[in-house]
């Protein structure tokens, strides 16, 4: 400890230099992908189904936050996804897209520093120390910045949209159908969800974005999405970074996508309760409950499931309602 204190200045310089290196190299994964004459060949369409899709069919894509390394979801996040599935059984849950890589390449996948990320990933699981968590978070934060940057964002978002689309096809999505797509982005994943929405909204399906403790900028995806639901916690301070860091979120910039969508009623901000951003007491915590006894995790899942069900009902109105046009009072 005393050694660390004695060398604090040098250590801070090293940390700053590494962060600077992360920042400088951040756009190049997406740019390299684009510069190599990007292959936009998508898997061919699945054969037409013989049976019509279930009326309640929908696709829920979960994009993790900046703590993700792409290997698998954290247990609390997987628990949340499972809970939503329990409440909306017809929903197809998609969790295999790593939002911080245009090629869906996890940090521990085929990349030059995979050994380092593997080490940090393993170390944080065993040591449960912020020291290891920090580096993965820092790397991913700069990818969020790439996503929000008008110079690189369009390219990054195209890559992510392509990966989401491919994953949807793998999970049985038929682009000829109108089954709605829900992009749920947690924390920095919210920015990526909105980025992907910029392109996925070109599909026939309604694309709804749900952010959970989302930190995001004002990008076209906000206006293009059918609706944006921002789920927030009253004790979550991180969500305030978005409205501070990104000028498009400032009230002053009235013509921004965010402000225009707000005026049009395309955005719903819903406070879930006294949730914090991450850790015990966050949106996915089972051990802390609201006053009515519902755990935070259940409440978040309830609200998300309600949004999904309502939207699906809008797309596929129940037959008795759809056919009752003639009985309506004039």
């Amino acid at each position: 400890m005393s050694w660390i204190l004695a060398h604090l200045e040098q250590l801070s310089s090293v940390v700053a230099l590494v962060l600077l290196a992360f920042a400088l190299t951040a756009p190049f994964e997406a740019l390299r992908w684009w510069a190599q004459d990007v292959d936009l060949t998508l898997p061919s369409l699945p054969p037409k189904r013989e049976t019509p899709p279930e009326p309640g069919e929908c696709y829920v894509v979960y994009l993790t936050g900046i703590g993700g390394s792409g290997e698998s979801l954290a247990r609390r996040e997987q628990g949340f996804v499972d809970r939503v599935k329990e409440r909306v059984p017809d929903a197809v849950m998609v969790t295999d897209v790593f939002p911080f890589s245009v090629t869906n390449n996890p940090l521990t996948g085929e990349r030059p520093l995979a050994w380092l990320w593997s080490f940090l990933h393993r170390a944080r699981l065993t040591a449960k120390s912020l020291l290891f968590e920090f580096w993965i978070g820092a790397r991913n934060v700069f990818q969020v910045a790439v996503c929000s940057d008008p110079r690189y964002g369009p390219i990054f978002n195209l890559g992510i949209a392509r990966e989401v689309y491919e994953s949807l096809l793998r999970h049985g999505y038929d682009p000829r159908s109108r089954a709605p797509i829900f992009l749920i982005g947690y924390s920095g994943g919210a920015q990526v969800a909105l980025g992907a929405a910029c392109y996925l909204t070109r599909l026939r399906s309604k694309v709804v974005v749900i952010t959970v403790g989302g930190v995001f900028s004002s990008i076209p995806g906000i206006s293009l999405a059918h609706h944006l639901y921002c789920l927030t916690g009253s004790k979550d301070r991180t969500i305030h970074l978005g409205p501070v860091l990104f000028p498009g979120r400032w009230k002053l910039v009235s013509g921004s996508f965010w402000n225009r969508a707000l005026r049009k009623g395309q955005v719903t901000i819903k406070e879930l309760g006294p949730m914090i951003h991450s850790g015990k007491g966050d949106y996915f915590t089972r051990s802390v409950s609201l006053e009515n006894g519902t755990t935070f995790a259940d409440h978040t899942a309830d609200v998300v499931a309600e949004i999904v069900k309502t939207t699906v009902a809008e797309v596929n109105p129940p037959e008795d309602v759809a056919d009752s046009g003639g009985d309506k009072p004039r």
């Binding site: 920042a23 400088l24 684009w34 936009l40 700069f142 910045a145 900028s217």
Partner: protein
């Protein structure tokens, strides 16, 4: 030795120190200012690596773009100097040798040596704005401290110079762009968003 001298003048310019402007009268002043300017132009060129990659340029085209960018920035510096000189002379009656003013303008590009950091996503855009303001401040400080132009006049001359510079830029924008593209050996810039949508639509139409 020269490297150290360049480093010192660069550092002093960034701090708007009066000592940095003494090179305006020294015999090797122009050389030092040009070296700083070329470093700035190269740094800016490197920061354009992202744009170049989006445009899928080859290595040869990238080097050509880097050299071309330096020449273009040189022309911009000359125009900028001319604009300030006209503003000072015609509107305010200050007699300043154009060559010395040119050295000052070259020195004002000192912050752009850090221009490579504009490549940083998101924060780079703010950094770019900071650098431009910093450059303007060096010009104003040089006019005030070295040429004894009163502060308000210095601000006004830089302001009018900036206005003239923008007008020139607007008048010749298409020609400048054509020249930049010719240096790169390309017909048009790739605009990432449009290109991405175009590719996607082509892909969808093909299905």
């Amino acid at each position: 030795m020269l490297g150290w001298e360049v480093y010192q003048v660069w550092g002093d310019s960034l701090r708007l120190r009066e000592s940095s402007f003494s090179v305006l009268d020294s015999p090797g002043g122009m050389t030092l200012a040009v070296i700083i300017f070329v470093l700035a132009a190269f740094s800016k060129g490197l920061s354009d690596a992202g744009v170049m990659m989006i445009n899928r340029v080859t290595k040869g085209q990238f080097v050509r773009g880097l050299l071309g960018g330096t020449v273009m920035l040189g022309i911009a510096a000359l125009t900028w100097s001319g604009c300030i000189w006209i503003a000072l002379r015609a509107a305010m009656g200050f007699e300043i040798a154009f060559e010395r003013l040119l050295i000052l303008v070259f020195l004002s590009y000192a912050p752009l040596v850090l221009g490579v950091f504009t490549i940083i996503p998101h924060a780079g855009l703010l950094w770019s704005l900071i650098l431009r303001i910093w450059m303007l401040l060096i010009t104003i400080a040089g006019l005030q401290q070295h040429f004894q132009v009163p502060l308000l006049y210095a601000v006004a001359a830089s302001g009018v110079g900036w206005l003239l510079f923008q007008i020139f830029g607007e008048l010749f924008r298409s020609k400048i762009e054509r020249l930049r593209l010719a240096l790169l050996g390309r017909e048009r810039w790739v605009r990432p968003k449009e290109a991405a949508v175009e590719l996607l639509e082509r892909r969808m139409a093909g299905e």
